[in-house]
């Protein structure tokens, strides 16, 4: 057994390096047949398949505990190979946790672990005091003897595993055998985890890029409901996206797109295209011109890029939708009477032709109808014609109770359990039913005013008001609500209510708050009430200790 002299260490032969090292005692091959019962059990515990089910942290933790127990040693440590810096980094330890906590780094080739890594041999040090040890923690801990081996997967150095004893100890062939079983166990797991974490990181980057927020507003109140889902592919990131945003005059923009290709490049390109489309759309270019501008943007990119996209603008007052598609799958419209595929002639994909023209078309979403955009990952299945798959989609979503339910059903029933080969995006926008009466409790926040006007314009049109009536009534109601908000000067958030009713052509609005009607301050104030009186047929203001109520009426006979 390794005659460990005062000034020497013993190098044990490693299966990966057959050539004996000059100047080191080399031990013969392991003889597992001679292992006593307790070591057989140790082998079994190190080979436990249940270990594979653990995450990397738990796996290393459990493995090191089992190594310590099997060998009866005081310390166990794993250092990983940092290829970029040509170093070993302490990754997990038992008994010398300081190694990991302090992030000990050992240059390859130096000291005990560094030599194991460079020469890819097992190294035994009988007496630490007289050996070339770089890491002061080993000495500070009072470790007397060390045994370490390289971790190797498919010829690649992954790291080093070493054990230590606080009392002088002669590590032998059987100890080495146990350690080699542990190393064989640990190395592939670590390598898998490393690859997985790289994939995971790539995946997370893609998810961050892809995450899109639906606009925060009282969409339910306004009468437009939206919902969306994004699902990544099971193995690779993709280039699908969706976007929903507000435009001027209460209109809503809905976009969907799919960058050709996969991986981080596709995901990054997707982020650029989504931003470009959003920015052009905000300039009010309309669907066709917006897509043409995104196409020019793609054409100007240094690398080849192609994508399909569709963009629609919904006018909530009327349900009118302007729609354009650059090579994207046709959207569907789902309503009470079932669903239909929108008959759209798609223009060429973005990036396909120089100066391509994008066609625009119109459709009307009746109250209760939902427009649904999706990407090919939802419907493309090997061996099934696309038209059949889209029919299946229509079948699956036609009974949906809400836009959110629609997206959920589509995803749950069309996405295979085994996972997706392609990513999936789906976005739905519903022109919901208009209530005959409004009865709203609203926060006393000035930001609510524009929402109220949107809702009111829609409601007024529903009841047959013309453009100038709509303008005047909206102005009067907004003024009354402004007053209610200004009354709510208490520090706590306050509410006010708005009721709107229609009897034939007589419209009545009641705005109630819990503050006092404040006397107009200065000659510029009080214009609100002037406007209200000018815009409505009659106005009553009732003020009491508990609050103020404005009731106003307007007849909308043409």
């Amino acid at each position: 057994m390794g005659g460990a002299g005062q000034n020497s260490h013993v190098t044990l032969e490693n299966p990966h390096q057959r050539e004996p090292r000059a100047g080191h005692a080399v031990l013969g091959p392991v003889e597992p047949a001679l292992a006593p019962a307790h070591q057989v059990e140790a082998f079994a515990r190190l080979s436990d398949p249940a270990l594979s089910e653990l995450g990397l942290e738990e796996f290393l933790d459990e493995l090191l505990l089992r190594v310590r127990e099997a060998l009866g040693v005081d310390t166990v440590a794993i250092l990983l190979h940092d290829r970029a810096n040509h170093q070993l980094v302490a990754r997990a330890a038992k008994g010398i946790e300081e190694e990991v906590e302090q992030g000990v780094r050992i240059p390859i080739g130096q000291g005990f672990a560094g030599r194991i890594a460079e020469e890819r041999v097992a190294v035994f040090i009988a007496d630490v005091d007289h050996a070339d040890i770089l890491n002061p923690i080993l000495r500070e801990k009072g470790i007397r003897s060390l045994l370490g081996i390289p971790l190797i997967v498919e010829g690649e150095l992954i790291g080093v595993l070493h054990v230590g004893s606080l009392v002088p100890r002669e590590f032998g062939q059987r100890d080495l055998a146990v350690l080699q079983v542990a190393a064989a166990r640990a190395a592939p797991g670590i390598e898998r985890a490393r690859l997985f974490s790289e994939l995971e990181r790539e995946h997370q980057v893609a998810m961050v890029l892809q995450r899109s927020l639906l606009p925060k507003r009282l969409l339910d109140v306004i009468g437009v409901k939206t919902a969306a889902r994004y699902l990544p592919a099971s193995d690779e990131v993709g280039g699908d996206w969706y976007d929903v945003f507000e435009l001027a005059r209460g209109r809503l923009g809905v976009a969907i797109g799919d960058v050709v290709g996969h991986g981080v490049r596709a995901a990054a390109l997707m982020g650029q295209l989504r931003t470009a489309l959003h920015a052009y759309a905000m300039q009010d270019y309309g669907p066709a011109r917006t897509l043409e501008l995104v196409d020019r943007f793609v054409q100007a990119m240094p690398d080849y890029a192609m994508a399909t996209a569709a963009y629609a603008v919904l006018e909530p007052d009327t349900g009118e939708v302007q729609l354009a598609s650059a090579g994207h799958l046709p959207p569907i419209v789902v309503g009470a009477g079932g669903g239909r595929v929108v008959d759209i002639t798609p223009s060429a994909p973005l990036g396909a032709f120089s100066y391509g023209r994008v066609q625009e078309q119109e459709l009307v979403l009746r109250p209760g109808e939902t427009l649904v955009f999706y990407t090919d990952g939802l419907v493309e299945r090997p061996g099934t014609p696309l038209t059949d798959s889209i029919d299946t989609l229509l079948e699956v979503v036609k009974g949906a109770r809400s836009v959110d339910d629609l997206c959920r059903q589509a995803v749950e029933r069309l996405v295979p359990v085994a996972g997706l080969r392609d990513d999936v995006a789906i976005v739905a926008i519903q022109n919901s039913e208009i209530d005959d009466e409004l009865n709203l409790s609203l926060p006393a926040d000035p930001k609510i005013l524009s929402e109220i006007r949107l809702l009111l314009r829609r409601w007024l049109r529903h009841h047959g008001a013309n453009d100038s009536q709509t303008l005047e009534i909206t102005l009067a109601v907004s003024e009354a609500c402004t007053n209610a908000i200004e009354h709510a000067y208490s520090p706590a958030p306050a509410d006010f209510t708005l009721q709107a009713t229609a009897h034939d052509d007589q419209l009545t609005f009641v705005i109630t708050d819990v503050g006092r009607w404040r006397a107009p301050r200065g000659q510029d104030r009080g214009r609100g009430l002037t406007i209200i009186r000018a815009a409505m047929d009659d106005v009553e203001v009732e003020s009491s200790d508990t609050g103020t109520q404005i009731t106003m009426r307007r007849r909308i006979t043409p």
Binding site: F245, E246, L247, A248, R249, M282, P446, K447, L449, S450, R453, S468, L471, E472, T474, L475, S478, E479, T482, I485, E486, D524, R525, R527, G528, T530, I531, A534, A535
Partner: protein
């Protein structure tokens, strides 16, 4: 989407502020401050162009008055550019203040008042074709 936007340009020593979108209690103060900030002391006048506004109410009218007072204190004048058929004009009409403010129907008409070249009649050079 921001409820409103303001776009600035300069013509000689006149600042033009073109408003778009909707102005109400939620954004009137910040728009007023932005316009006051963007009008330098050496400017002669401000043209407040409300032709492209989709909505304006008493909060916006208050803004117009306050801005006019601020500029007057600096010795600057303000013209409101407001076409007769516009949502902003309807609001001013309902509030009964339409005639209390110096107005012009277009930016060009308002600029003509401040342009030194526009004062003498332009005589074409007989030598030129």
């Amino acid at each position: 989407m921001k409820l409103a936007d303001v776009q600035f340009s300069d013509r000689e020593r006149v600042v033009i502020a073109r408003l778009s979108g909707e102005i109400d209690l939620s954004n009137a103060d910040s728009i007023e401050n932005a316009i006051a900030e963007a009008t330098p002391n050496q400017a002669l006048a401000l043209l407040l162009d409300v032709s492209a506004l989709d909505y304006l109410d008493s909060a916006g009218i208050h803004l117009i008055y306050k801005l006019r007072e601020k500029l007057r204190a600096r010795g600057q004048t303000m013209r409101l550019v407001i076409p007769p058929h516009s949502p902003a004009n309807d609001a001013l009409r309902l509030a009964g203040v339409a005639r209390n403010i110096d107005t012009a129907e277009s930016v060009e008409a308002a600029l003509a008042e401040f342009s030194p070249e526009s004062a003498p009649a332009q005589v074409p050079d007989p030598g030129s074709v």
